[in-house]
Symmetry: C2
Subunit: 292 residues, 2 copies
Amino acid sequence: MGYRPSGLARGLSTNRTYTVGFLVPDNSHHFFSLMVRGAEAFSSDAGYSLLLANTLKNQELETSALNNLWDRRVDGAILYASLLSPEQLTTYIERLEHVVFINSPNVPMLESKSVSINVDDQLGARIAVQHFVSKGHTQIALISAPMISSSGRRRLDGYRQALSDFGLPVDEDLICECIPHTEGGYNAVTHLLQAHPDITAILAYNDLSAIGAIRACEDHGKKIPDDIAIIGFDDIPMASLLRPSLSTVRIDKQALGSLAMETLLGLIEGNKDTPQIQIIQPRLILRQTTRS
Amino acid sequence: MGYRPSGLARGLSTNRTYTVGFLVPDNSHHFFSLMVRGAEAFSSDAGYSLLLANTLKNQELETSALNNLWDRRVDGAILYASLLSPEQLTTYIERLEHVVFINSPNVPMLESKSVSINVDDQLGARIAVQHFVSKGHTQIALISAPMISSSGRRRLDGYRQALSDFGLPVDEDLICECIPHTEGGYNAVTHLLQAHPDITAILAYNDLSAIGAIRACEDHGKKIPDDIAIIGFDDIPMASLLRPSLSTVRIDKQALGSLAMETLLGLIEGNKDTPQIQIIQPRLILRQTTRS
DNA sequence: GTGAAAGCGCTAACAT
DNA sequence: ATGTTAGCGCTTTCAC
């Protein structure tokens, strides 16, 4: 037939739009695109539409995106890595009705209005170090991200913690900050190997820098994984396709997006039993850059 | 201040929602995520919001997503690789007001209501073959996609055309269909090299199958690019990060998404001078899998 | 000019 | 049960 009720008019009279917003730094990054995918699958299944916006780690863009969601009277929103202050966020939570935060620090949590979901980066780093230790490694280097990165700080924390837990000294010389890309990882490991040729294991901030690490090791004549073992973070598609394929700490991005959406829709539909804080645990994927 | 006009109410009275839909097969594919990125940047800049939905190459999902956009009274939509019949599409064009199609075959084009944007895959294959020929190759194999894929057919066409244009015979034995993934490419090239050890160049349907092709060549003891040159299609991030880095036919996905959105907003805002058909030309990116 | 009123297309509360 | 009406929050028209 040729008639469909107007969602606008319905929304105006019921105060329900069946629309949710999803704000990510950049949807073209593999990490976010998979999260969005998981969230979209869940929301469309439940009859909700997804407004997508990129914030580009830019406060003004985030604010204008939030205002836009407010204008549109969305039923709720998911914010990844929000940059706003707790005060600002409190007002936005009230305007947007329901908000789920992912990996955002210090967010306000209003009863049955907001929820915080966080990836346990420390655990991720710890299980990687634990694996190294269990294989007998003692000289374990870390390619860290710049300290502006909160996930970088958490992974660094986890690395330190794990070493202490296993009774290994934390040698600051084995920690090298780099821009988390292939060249950054390459340069960092080049430096590390010059100063500390006895390194036998490297934990990288992410897969991209891990790939740079692999290249640097190769160029130094180190065999992987026999001379040096490497573990990355993220499990980008390339990780399994590379040779040697990259061992990595995987976060299930699709499940994360899906969980965030499930949580948000739960809030919207009045589920009282939604935990205010949820922790996502990453998992170690062992491939060819670590010895079995 | 604490007040913002309701977009719903405005939309109801003006028949303009400043919302557009974007239907893609799967936003988590690198190709689509970059397209969406380009489109979102343009739309948010122009004050329009983006409703994203995945159709998963599934007619029913596409239809329900379209109905949903209709319910929401979007000002227009972009459809990638639509699966619907021209008749169905005609009615949806009327319901959604304005539609831009990307890489969708045989779409109806209603004056100042719909536009079709297509990637010139034939040209892409032709410039790749042309490069091979200019380097003296005569035994040029093609790893093709299954014939359900329209881009696969167009690339096959371009390959055939180019060979003819350069006076080379089209040897059907040098054309091998495969599922366009790494293993598919690996298997295809393994077979090809067994039957035709004299092959010196391979054009792959996409980068993933090209990576499989590289592996197969390596396993056959062929040096790249000295014994065999390889060109892929897409320019996925891995292409430039691989060793050897992969020469490929690149489509500027972000520009494509941005152009599609620009075109759509042009239609919506009544630009009369929008061409009904637009062609996007891919570009050859030469890296280490081809000789310079 | 400023201000009141009608209408956009629904839902929900009411009345028959 | 079915039918009528008010109101959601804007824009636009029409009157003053």
